[in-house]
Symmetry: C2
């Protein structure tokens, strides 16, 4: 049996899978992100669409995994419950950061920006593409509210199954998309001895400045 | 060739690996975390020690992967460069959140708390346990400063190799540990149709209240 504290104290990753230079990257960081995303899809990275979303509420950060559902021209979309803690946080403070971690490629992408709600059309389109069970799940869950038991949730779902039987299921008013418009990117490629490559993009007016950070 | 935007639009995880109930968990969330950490070690989850650290600077969140090096009694330790953006952020605002994502187990742990620097003894002990190349790497990198090129970093490293040849390498003054003392935990187990189990602990004086959140 391996002791878990000894394991985390001693484990060292050997980062040798790639390199990243200032001249390897595309001028547009949104296109550079799509290029890496493509490579993640081709490499069959598990859960490559999982991104960590960090938000701030009352000056405290919190973060959770959400699924990226669309990327286009510096905009990143995901969906969920507007009444959730993340929804309330984004109402109070629209600054957010995203983090993609693809250990199989020894890569990380850090993105910062400002978040808005998606349009109703966008949210409807995505909601309508989901399977029945996911649609009912969106109705069943008053996200981040305390439940007395799992049974409360399952009873609610059963009731919704009856209520919507044979009917089209509309998007709940408390459910929809958000879109982050990026103003900062960092592309991180692990290198040996912690001398990682970190290539960053900072928006300045209409252009993006590219620079390398010390690891 | 799979289109990456179509992939992220359509991909759905089937969460069927486990369940988590209010009575399955230990009374102490630090012990519950260690129990899940042990299972991650036994299941050989890749990069299980990688945690997302979210911090706040000037009311904006940022987040990055760091390695957990020790967990004991609600305290979580990691190490790095005090001059980094995360170091500056933690000086300005000690609130932080951690997120462990172990997709192989369909589990996520969210932790919130307050961060302090580790003691000098603790930082020295950890620094001294690192391999030579990592010790020199800590000296070579003025983290988060802009480099003119990778060569600048490599030249610096070569110079340090000569400077410290045959000598003991002390911990740099700008390098050391941080420790987060947790005051909130969420243990997340993926379930089908997005009806995930979310068991939370909130500190109240000397005790921890356990409750279930809607997914």
């Amino acid at each position: 049996m391996i002791d878990h504290n000894e394991y985390i104290d001693k484990v060292r990753a050997d980062f040798t899978k790639g390199t990243l230079g200032e001249t390897d990257v595309l001028a547009d960081p949104s296109e550079q992100f799509e290029a890496w995303l493509k490579q993640a899809v081709e490499s069959e990275v598990p859960e490559l669409q999982a991104m960590n979303l960090a938000t701030v509420y009352d000056n405290r950060p919190s973060s959770r995994i959400v699924y990226l559902r669309k990327i286009h021209n510096h905009k990143f979309w995901w969906y969920g419950n507007y009444d959730s803690k993340k929804g309330q946080s984004l109402e109070q403070n629209p600054n957010a950061s995203l983090n993609f971690f693809w250990p199989e490629l020894q890569r990380q992408v850090r993105i910062e920006g400002v978040v808005k709600k998606a349009t109703d059309d966008n949210s409807d389109n995505y909601f309508n593409s989901r399977p029945l069970e996911s649609k009912l799940g969106a109705w069943a869950s008053a996200q981040s509210y305390r439940l007395t038991s799992r049974k409360e949730l399952e009873d609610k779902l059963e009731q919704l199954h009856k209520q919507f039987e044979g009917k089209e299921i509309p998007r709940p008013p408390h459910w929809g998309g958000w879109v982050l418009k990026a103003n900062y990117y960092e592309f991180w490629q692990g290198r040996p001895s912690r001398l990682h490559d970190r290539i960053c993009y900072e928006q300045q007016g209409e252009t993006w400045n590219i620079f390398r950070l010390a690891p």
